[in-house]
């Protein structure tokens, strides 16, 4: 799994000031599949996710050691520009965060900041992205209405569409369904199942049942360490470490 990984993390440690948040993590994310990061609150799974496109750079006092390689090159090399990195490795957040603009403008934002000016091209991108995010049929007649008027689930799918519009290769999702109701959650899960045929996806989730439904690979985190990882089905039915088993059987979490 390590050799063919799209992204691989090697001996990666992260500190928030004096706090050692991630301890020597090594993990690979295979292409065109979905890896779920699970574990109790504060275990470092979101921190690891945000390390994969260097969103942690925005927090003051963060220091890292080790490597995160995207197709072989270390994204923490000093000469790496985070702008193209984040275009390649996009992110969906816990709370849907569409811009206070129209649906169209939300999707067109990404292509625009990357230099696309032609209206006809933008229209194509918007339509394609909304179709890929399974939202087109619901919004095609009101592309000019404010995105904030959509329901929470629609907003989250809009955020996914907005991300697809910049043609990323890796999608990072930080508890993408935690603010959604069950029906909206189901729709987002269906969408994610479809997207993993094309993209490398990493999802942080609190919800083991969800991880079981959508993920191919699973990594379990506890207190800043990765306890174990593997194929989801195997790990869920046959955990080798007692912390994993305790967590899965609900003894803590």
């Amino acid at each position: 799994m390590m050799q063919s990984a799209k992204i691989s993390v090697q001996d990666f440690s992260l500190y928030y000031g004096a706090f050692h948040a991630l301890k020597k993590i090594s993990l690979g994310f295979p292409p065109r599949s979905l890896t779920a990061l699970v574990g109790p609150s504060g275990c470092g799974k979101s921190t690891l996710l945000r390390s994969l496109n260097r969103m942690n750079d925005l927090i003051a006092g963060v220091r890292v050691e080790g490597r995160v390689s995207l197709e072989g090159s270390n994204i923490y090399d000093p000469d790496v520009d985070v702008v193209p990195l984040r275009k390649k490795v996009g992110m969906v957040f816990q709370r849907p965060n569409p811009f206070p603009m129209s649906i169209f403008e939300n999707i067109a934002y990404g292509p625009r900041v990357h230099g696309e000016k032609k209206r006809s091209r933008l229209q194509d991108i918007v339509e394609q992205s909304l179709k890929s995010a399974a939202l087109w049929d619901e919004v095609k007649d009101r592309l000019d209405s404010p995105a904030l008027k959509l329901s929470g689930g629609q907003q989250q799918r809009l955020c996914i569409a907005r991300l697809l519009a910049v043609e990323p290769e890796v999608l990072l999702m930080d508890e993408p369904c935690s603010a959604l109701d069950p029906i909206a959650t189901e729709k987002v899960e269906e969408l994610v199942m479809d997207l993993k045929k094309k993209y490398t996806i990493v999802v942080v989730t609190h919800n083991i049942a969800q991880a079981a439904r959508i993920s191919d690979y699973l990594a379990f985190f506890y207190l800043g360490e990765m306890i174990e990882s593997g194929v989801t089905r195997q790990l869920l039915t046959n955990p080798t470490k007692h912390q994993t088993e305790d967590y899965l059987t609900g003894r803590f979490g």
């Binding site: 925005l58 984040r86 996009g90 965060n97 569409p98 990404g110 900041v113 907005r162 991300l163 910049v166």
Partner: protein, 277 residues
């Protein structure tokens, strides 16, 4: 139990009375000036030149003087103030340098306006040889309203949810693209409020323009012409006993203009507040 009730009622009464007194004072001043002034305001007063230093005639050039001085002051102060606010809120993470800058801005807000006038006279009028002019007066006003613009804009930028910035950065936008295309548009109503508050201050200012704008009773046709705003005209009319009637009429016009500007500011601020969910 009874004692507590009594305390509660007394407190309520005192607090309520304070609110009523505040409003009554406002109404009294407003009513007094408007009643005394409105009698002498008519179309002619607003559109003709003063005669005999203001004893007769209207106040047309002073209305223009006020508008031109305020307009030019905003043209200088708004870009500068908004840029400074963006720098302070989006591009810095605190630290000693920033705290010094912030302290300077707060202090700037507390300087008496006559000091701006005096500085304007010494530095702009005399040293830079800008003379008594629209430009000198407007620069002095601009310096005076700069802290208002910076603080109000900064507040507006800070209320823009961090989610927007994160979303934009995560799409591979640069920091500047994020600021200019997402943060600023979201903060725009607050920026408009800042401009309104600043123009209210500028329209009503006397001391800062007294020693800088000159005071000529004619229309300014260039930035280098001297001009006299309504506030200054009002001061001369009253202080030199030229015409108390016309002083009140001028005061009423000035007051209405300031009220309109501040109402717009409040309107924008409320609209802005509602948008934040």
């Amino acid at each position: 139990m009874k004692k507590r009730n009594l305390a509660q009622r007394t407190a309520f009464l005192l607090i309520g009375a304070s609110a009523v007194i505040t409003f009554a004072l406002f109404a009294l001043i407003l009513g007094y000036v408007l009643i005394k002034g409105m009698a002498n305001i008519n179309w002619e007063f607003l559109t003709t030149y003063p005669a005999l230093m203001g004893r007769e005639g209207g106040i047309f050039p002073t209305i223009i003087g006020t508008l031109v001085l305020t307009g030019v002051a905003l043209l200088i102060a708004v870009p500068l103030g908004v840029a400074a606010a963006i720098y302070l809120s989006e591009y810095t993470k605190g630290g000693i340098g920033i705290r010094i800058i912030r302290f300077a801005i707060e202090s700037l807000a507390g300087i008496p306006s006559i000091i701006y006038g005096l500085f304007g006279f010494a530095f702009l009028v005399t040293f830079l040889k800008l003379g008594f002019s629209v430009l000198s007066g407007a620069i002095a006003l601009a310096l005076m309203v700069l802290p208002i613009i910076i603080r109000t804009t900064e507040e507006a930028i800070r209320t823009v949810p961090d989610d927007y910035r994160q979303a934009s950065l995560a799409l591979g936008a640069t920091r500047w693209q994020t600021t200019s295309r997402v943060v600023l548009p979201a903060a725009l109503p607050g920026v408009v409020t800042a401009v309104m508050l600043a123009s209210g201050r500028a329209v009503g200012e006397t001391a800062a323009v007294w020693l800088t704008a000159g005071g000529a009773l004619k229309l300014p046709f260039s930035l280098h012409d001297p001009t006299r705003p309504m506030t200054l005209h009002l001061y001369y009319l009253a202080a030199e006993g030229l015409s108390l009637e016309r002083a009140y009429a001028t005061a009423a016009v000035l007051l209405v203009l300031v009220l309109v500007v501040y109402s717009l500011a409040i309107f924008f601020r409320q609209k802005f507040g509602m948008k934040r969910r």
